[in-house]
């Protein structure tokens, strides 16, 4: 019984194609965005940003593998773009954490909603 249910689910799940990767990336993107918007802790916001960047990277690499945008078919340019995204993510994380530390030193908090002196 259990085996047949398992087989049924397997049969229901279609074969993996480009769209599957894209949908995973869409879910990751939305989760990351949700994290960015809702979290009060600045470091959690950064984690959300990393999720969004990873979602973008999955997209880039999936298209690099499957083609789909051009008639010319797959090319490695997507992977190169993903490398640049990773490079910039590293730079961004370093800078952002330096900023977070500065904010912590100044306001004694890392909750972004409490750091709103720009409002005045």
């Amino acid at each position: 019984m259990q085996t047949s249910l398992f087989n049924g689910v397997l049969a229901w799940l279609p074969n993996v194609q480009l769209a599957h990767f894209l949908i995973v990336s869409a879910i990751l993107f939305a989760l990351g965005l949700y994290g960015i918007v809702t979290r009060r802790n600045a470091i959690m916001v950064l984690m959300g940003v990393e999720l969004v960047l990873n979602a973008a990277n999955i997209n880039l690499i999936a298209f690099s593998r499957y083609g789909g945008l051009h008639a010319s078919g797959p090319a490695l340019d997507g992977q190169v773009a993903a490398i640049f995204v990773i490079i910039l993510a590293a730079a961004e994380a370093a800078i952002a954490l330096a900023i977070v530390l500065n904010i912590y030193n100044r306001f004694q908090t890392v909750n972004v909603d409490e750091v709103s002196s720009l409002k005045e």
Binding site: A11, L13, N15, V16, L18, A19, H20, F21, L22, I23, V24, A26, I27, L28, A30, L31, G32, L33, Y34, G35, T38, R39, R40, N41, I43, M44, M47, G48, L51, N54, N57, I58, I61, R65, Y66, G67, G68, G73, P74, L76, Q79, V80, A82, I83, F84, I86, I87, L88, A89, A90, E92, A93, A94, I95, L97, A98, L101, N102, Y104, V110
Partner: protein, 167 residues
């Protein structure tokens, strides 16, 4: 249903579930560790996409670098001994709506546009050498710019984190 598909579903589930934990857990340490699994899951997806170099880079930089950096941030800005490691949320309802609409519309667009694109004919090859050549030829200028950006980030981060504020 082949091994490829089974592996894909396993890692896709791992990625998404751990990303859910990252976003919804109250404990910042749990979030950081779940992020580790998300990154590993994404790296596995890269492998499935035959992007071997990218997968290794993902593990090295994201897990080895960025995640450790984030953990440092957590440690330096929270009093770990006390219980103040939980974090609050805001804008929950509008964000939930926005995220749902985004997932819905993106998934719909992706599925409708690219559902027919199947496995490409080209045989997968090792990408490291090809990527290296691309970086040194067509993408030489962005590559150099990226190195300058990294240098600037290095100096900037060190300068900002070390600057002591006058009282």
């Amino acid at each position: 249903m082949e091994t490829f598909d089974i592996v894909f579903y396993i890692f896709a589930t791992l990625t998404i579930v751990s990303a859910f934990v990252v976003v919804f857990t109250k404990n910042i340490m749990y979030a950081a560790f779940s992020l580790l699994f998300t990154f590993i899951g994404v790296a596995a997806l890269y492998v499935l996409l035959h992007a071997d170099f990218l997968a290794v880079t993902q593990i090295l930089i994201y897990v080895g670098g960025i995640l450790v950096l984030l953990l440092f941030g957590v440690m330096l800005t929270n009093n770990v001994v006390s219980v103040d490691i939980k974090t609050g949320t805001l804008n929950t309802i509008p964000a939930l709506v926005a995220a749902a609409v985004i997932v819905g519309s993106l998934a719909a667009v992706f599925y409708m546009t690219w559902s027919t694109v199947g496995e490409p004919a080209t045989a997968p090859t090792a990408t490291t050498r090809a990527i290296g050549e691309l970086l040194m030829t067509g993408y030489a200028l962005p590559f150099e710019v990226a190195s300058v950006v990294l240098l600037a980030a290095l100096i900037g981060a060190a300068l900002m984190a070390r600057r002591t504020r006058k009282p």
